[in-house]
Amino acid sequence: MLPQSDISGQITRLIREDWGRLLAVLVSFGGDFALAEDSLQDAMVAALEHWPERGVPRDPDAWLITTARRKAVDRLRRARTAEDKADELTLWHWQHAPQEGDGRTLPDHRLELIFTCCHPALEEKSRVALTLRALGGLTTQEIASAFLDKPEAMAARLTRAKKKMQAAGIRFRLPDPEDLPERIEGVLQVIYLIFNEGYRSSSGALSRGDLAGEAIRLGRILVSCLPEHPEIKGLLALMLLGESRRLARSDGAGGYVPLETQNRARWDRGMIREGLDLVEVALRQGRAHPYTLQAAISALHAQAQDFASTDWAQIVALYSVLIHRQLNPVLWVNHAVAQSYASTPDQALRELEASGAAQHLAAYQPYHSCRADLLARIGQGDAALVAYDQAIALAQAPEERSFLISRRNRLATRAPSG
């Protein structure tokens, strides 16, 4: 028998891995999200209590579902007043409704669960929190610290969202077929927000890798549930390719390493292979979604032996398509970077200035650091220093800031130019 602490660690891992699937089954009984969650929590506590002594049951999922149903019935009975007959049906469901599936495997209701958590009638931040809680099995405490919120505030947010679900009639079901593309778009937005939060923030108990990893896990669930939608594969590929460079992005002392000087041997080849395969399939499956186009750009970086041999012309072309599709001024900055290597920094700078993006990007740090770099490369050192100062003033993350300061100082100590 394993030592006590090993068993509870094993139990916690197992439950977290299966949390979304278990919760989805429980919500499908009565549609009551909060009750399902509370009962699963009760069952988890019971497991931590009993399993270390009696051993992990042969079918832990079935044990947890049965226990959670019993706990739900207890909760309903306690909440019920003598004259209240309205809950009879709910009670019956929890007690007697037969479980779907062949008895050996749990039915998969995670898709319904994702769409419910990402319902457009809920506030964006609540969608993110609910998704992490329900599908990812993260605790309220973990979600709060990942978003630098107070645990009480996060708990209140989750409670509010669950109340609205119940009272406003947000049903636990798949969207109507005609609404599916739009609703998928909403789910992908939530997943990408989680990924970017992990990509950006390094503080809090939950490290950036955990949130990014969580987003990738959600992406995988979604791809497996909706294989005929290529945009989901595009997003998963985009996240995998971005995450594959995580180790190489950091110099080990908290410093940021740009793509240009990253040690490519530190890139995660497994993630790259998976990402490349997904991009290929997504591109073959239909008109490329913006996520797929971005993933294709990331794939070109992943395939290059070194920075200099990157297929910049192809990247410029992909950014042009993206700009045409999305009209997002931020894309002009990325386009300019690629263009500066595909043709010349001078050409890139002229295109960036002619794009009219400047008026929208005055407060966007990468716009100024990109201009600084282009100006420095064409020998306009003074103008480059000014642009670096603007970028430094706008930088938020400390590693970003110190990276820009070192760039600026290197330029300033070089021979002054005109």
Binding site: D84, A86, H119, A121, A167, A168, G169, I170, R171, R173, P175, D176, D179
Partner: protein, 116 residues
């Protein structure tokens, strides 16, 4: 479930009587209301007189206070409502999007509270 669909808009933002668009606008309302009836969703629905006709009442220490005008002087005002029977929020939201004034103003969807 029953949902109240509250129709808000700035007065004069939607097609006005006497304009070319007004006829089609009213026709859209009739089509929508007929469809709600045919689908068994319609419980009630009305347009309200403009806010120039509104009077607001409150009672403070037993004394009735009556004030000329709407509850709040906002640009967008309540102009009408539908009370609909819908399966769930998704269905109610779709109905809300089909209300002709949704193109010119906003529709707030609120579930009816059930006391049991």
């Amino acid at each position: 479930m029953q949902y109240m669909l509250l129709i808000y808009g700035a007065e004069g933002a939607d097609p006005q009587p006497g304009t070319e668009e007004f006829g089609a606008y009213m026709q859209d309302y009739m089509t929508f209301t007929t469809r709600m009836r045919d689908e068994g969703k319609f419980v009630a629905g009305d347009a309200l007189q403009p806010i120039s006709t509104a009077t607001t009442v409150s009672v403070s220490s037993g004394k009735v206070e009556t004030v000329d005008g709407p509850f709040a002087e906002t640009k967008e005002q309540l102009g009408g409502y539908y009370l609909l029977e819908c399966a769930d929020l998704d269905e109610a939201l779709k109905c809300a999007a089909d209300i002709p004034t949704a193109k010119y103003g906003r529709v707030e969807v609120r579930p009816i509270m059930v006391f049991d």
